[in-house]
Amino acid sequence: MSILTKFTGKNTNQYRRSAFWSYGVVIAGFILVSAMNSAGMISNSLQGQLVPICAYIAMAVSLNLVVGISGELSLGHAGFMSVGAFTGVIAATLFQSLPFLWVKLLIAIVVGGLFAGLAGVIIGVPVLRLRGDYLAIVTLAFGEIIRNVLNVIYVGLDEKGLQVATSMEGIHLSENGSMILNGPMGATGITKLSTFFAGFLLVLFTLFVVLNLVNSKHGRAIMAMRDNRIAAESVGLSATNFKMTAFVTGAILAGMSGALFALNYSTVAPVKFNFNTSILVLVFVVLGGIGNITGSIISAAVLTILPEALRQFSDYRMLTYAIVLILVMLATNNPQMKMFLSGLSKQVKAVFSKTKVYHRPQRAEEKGGAE
C-alpha cells in the first residue's frame, strides 16, 4: 500500500514549463531581495534569515525529489542535512588556510554533499526494500540514529591532523589545536563562510540537478516506478536502481544545503537537525504541492519568513502557525471544501470571462461559463 496514492499527472511539456517557472521564481526572488537589500529595506532579523531560507529551499526541493517524484515518504531528511553540515564544517576548518573564501565554501559544500550521499547509499540499501508507512518509520529511525551518533562524536584538530573520539577525554590536542565538534554541543567556533549569493547559487544548482533528473529518461522511470511499481518492473525497469538514484541524489543535495546552513552560524548543535526539522521540510513540500518544485520553493521561502513576520503575535505565533497549517490542509484536501473552492474559482472566472466576451455570440459565452 502506497502512502502517496494520488499525484498530479503532468506530461513532458508541462514539466518544461514548470522548470521555466522554477528558475524564474528563484532568479526574480534573488534580484528582488538583492535590490531591497541594497536599498536598506530588509530588516536585520530577515537578513540573518536569507542563507537559512536558501538552505531550506534546497532542502525542500531535494525532499520533493524523494517524496514527490520518487514517491517514498522520508521522515529523516534532516539527518542528511546534519551529516552534510558537520562534515562540511570539518572540511572548512581543515582547509582554512586556503586563500579564497568561496573556495573554502565550495570545498565544504562538496564534502558535505559527498558524505551525505555516502550516508544516503548506506541508508538507502535497507530502507528502499520496505514500502509505504514502514519505509517512513525507518527513515525516521535513521534520522534519529544519525542525530544520536553525532551527539557522541568529538573531533579535534591540531598540527598532527584530525582526531576523532567518542568522548572529550579521548582527544589529546597540542597547544595550538582546537576542537571542531563537541558532541551534544555540536560544532563551535565556525568561521562564517556562507553568503546569500552562495545560497542562491546552491538553490540554482539544486534546481538544475532535480529538474534535469526529472526530465530525463531516469526521471521518467522513477515516476513510472512511483505510479505503478509492478507495471514499471514488468517492462524491465529496476525498482531499486531508480529509487536509489532519487534517494541518494536527494541526500547529496540535502548534505550540500546542510553545509551551507552550518557555515552561516558560529555554532551548530546536532539537535538543530532533529525530527522536527525533517517534519518542517516535509510541511514545506506538502504545502507547496507534492511533486511541484516551484511550489516547494515558494512555500519554503514563505514559511521560513512567516514565523518571523508573525513576531508581533509573539506567544501566539506558533499556535497561529499550527492552526494555519491545519486549515490549509483541510481546505486543500477535504473533498467538499475542494469542490466549494473550485466552484468559487469557476464563478470568479465566469464573471471575468463574461466581461471579456460581452459582445460574443451567446454560445461562446455559455461555453466560457461552463469551463
Binding site: 502512502i3 535497507p126 518509520i137 525507518v138 544520536n148 525530527f275 506538502v286 506558533m318 491545519i326
Partner: protein
C-alpha cells in the same frame, strides 16, 4: 540482582510504551493513519492530572479519571475536527494535519503552563518501596503499579475486542472498511470510539510516565510518542498483541542498552533494533503479511 533491577525498570518503561503504542496501533489499524498527535495527548493528560493534584483536593483515582475523561473528549474532538474531514484523502495529507494538531497541542500547553518544567508528584508517593531478597532488589511502587496496570489494560482490551459488540465492529472496520459498512456497522462512530479509547489510554500512560520520570513539559510527550510508535511498528502496526510485545521489548532493550552499552546511544540502539527487525520481518514481529495485488 542489578540485572534484575534493570529488567524490572525495562518492564516498567516498556509497559508505558505498550500502553501508548496501543493507541497508535488501534488508530492505525482502523483509520489507516499515523496519528502523530498521540504523544501530545499524553502530555495533556499529564498536565490535567498534575492540575488536579496541585489545585484540586480530590483523591488520586479521581484525578486520573478526570484526566482520562478530558483526554477522551480531546481525542474525539481532534478526530471530528481535523481527521474526519480528510477521510479518504491521501494519508500524507492526514499525516501533515496530525503534525499540525501536534504543534497546536504543544503550543497551547506552552501558553497555558509555560515552558518551565513542572515537577510531577508521583501518584504512588504514599506507597512504600517493595524490598525483595533481603533488600537487594528494591522495587519502586511506580514500577510495580505500571506493570500491573499495563497487564490489566492488555487483558481488558483483549476481552473488549473479542467479546463486546463494539470491539468486534472495530476489528471488522480494521479488516475491511467498506464490507463493515455494508454489514450495518457505523464506521464513523467506530473510528470515533477508537480515538476515545486510544486517548483515554494515553492519559493513563501520561500519568504513569510522569510518575516514573517526574518532569512535565510541553514537549514531554513527543519522544515517548515516537518511541511508542516505533514499538507499535516493531510489533506489527495494527496488531494489538504486537503493540504490547513491541512496547515491552523496546522498554527492556532501551534500559539494558542504557545500563550496559551507552547512555547517549540508547536511542540509536533502540532505533537500530527496529530497523533490523523490519529488514528481517518487513511488517513487524506480529504483523500480517499483506499480499500485493496487481
Amino acid at each position: 540482582m542489578t540485572a534484575l533491577t534493570y529488567l524490572t525498570g525495562g518492564l516498567s518503561l516498556g509497559s508505558v510504551y505498550a500502553i501508548i503504542a496501543l493507541g497508535y496501533t488501534m488508530v492505525y489499524g482502523i483509520a489507516k493513519m499515523l496519528n502523530f498527535a498521540h504523544g501530545d495527548v499524553i502530555m495533556i493528560g499529564g498536565y490535567v492530572v498534575f492540575c488536579t493534584f496541585t489545585y484540586m483536593n480530590i483523591p488520586v483515582w479521581a484525578g486520573l479519571l478526570l484526566g482520562m475523561v478530558v483526554c477522551t473528549a480531546l481525542g474525539m474532538l481532534i478526530e471530528k475536527l481535523a481527521y474526519k474531514p480528510l477521510r479518504g484523502t491521501t494519508s500524507l495529507a492526514v499525516l501533515i494535519t496530525a503534525i499540525g494538531v501536534s504543534y497546536f497541542l504543544q503550543n497551547a500547553a506552552l501558553l497555558i503552563f509555560g515552558s518551565a518544567p513542572k515537577v510531577f508528584t508521583s501518584m504512588f508517593a504514599s506507597v512504600p518501596n517493595l524490598e525483595l531478597a533481603g533488600g537487594r532488589l528494591i522495587l519502586a511502587p511506580e514500577t510495580i503499579f505500571t506493570i500491573l496496570i499495563c497487564i490489566l489494560i492488555m487483558v481488558g482490551l483483549q476481552i473488549f475486542t473479542t467479546k463486546t459488540k463494539m470491539g468486534k465492529s472495530m476489528r471488522a472496520v480494521a479488516e475491511d472498511n467498506d464490507a463493515a459498512r455494508l454489514m450495518g456497522i457505523n464506521v464513523d462512530h467506530t473510528i470515533s470510539m477508537t480515538f476515545a479509547i486510544g486517548s483515554a489510554l494515553a492519559a493513563v500512560a501520561g500519568v504513569l510516565l510522569c510518575s516514573s520520570y517526574p518532569t512535565l513539559m510541553p514537549t514531554t510527550g513527543s519522544m515517548p510518542g515516537i518511541k511508542a510508535f516505533t514499538a507499535a511498528v516493531f510489533g506489527g502496526i495494527g496488531s494489538i498483541p504486537g503493540a504490547m510485545v513491541g512496547g515491552l521489548l523496546l522498554g527492556i532493550i532501551e534500559i539494558l542498552a542504557r545500563a550496559y552499552i551507552s547512555t547517549e546511544l540508547s536511542d540509536a540502539i533502540v532505533f537500530g533494533v527496529l530497523i533490523v527487525v523490519l529488514l528481517v520481518k518487513p511488517t513487524g514481529l506480529l504483523g500480517r503479511k499483506v499480499m500485493e495485488k496487481v
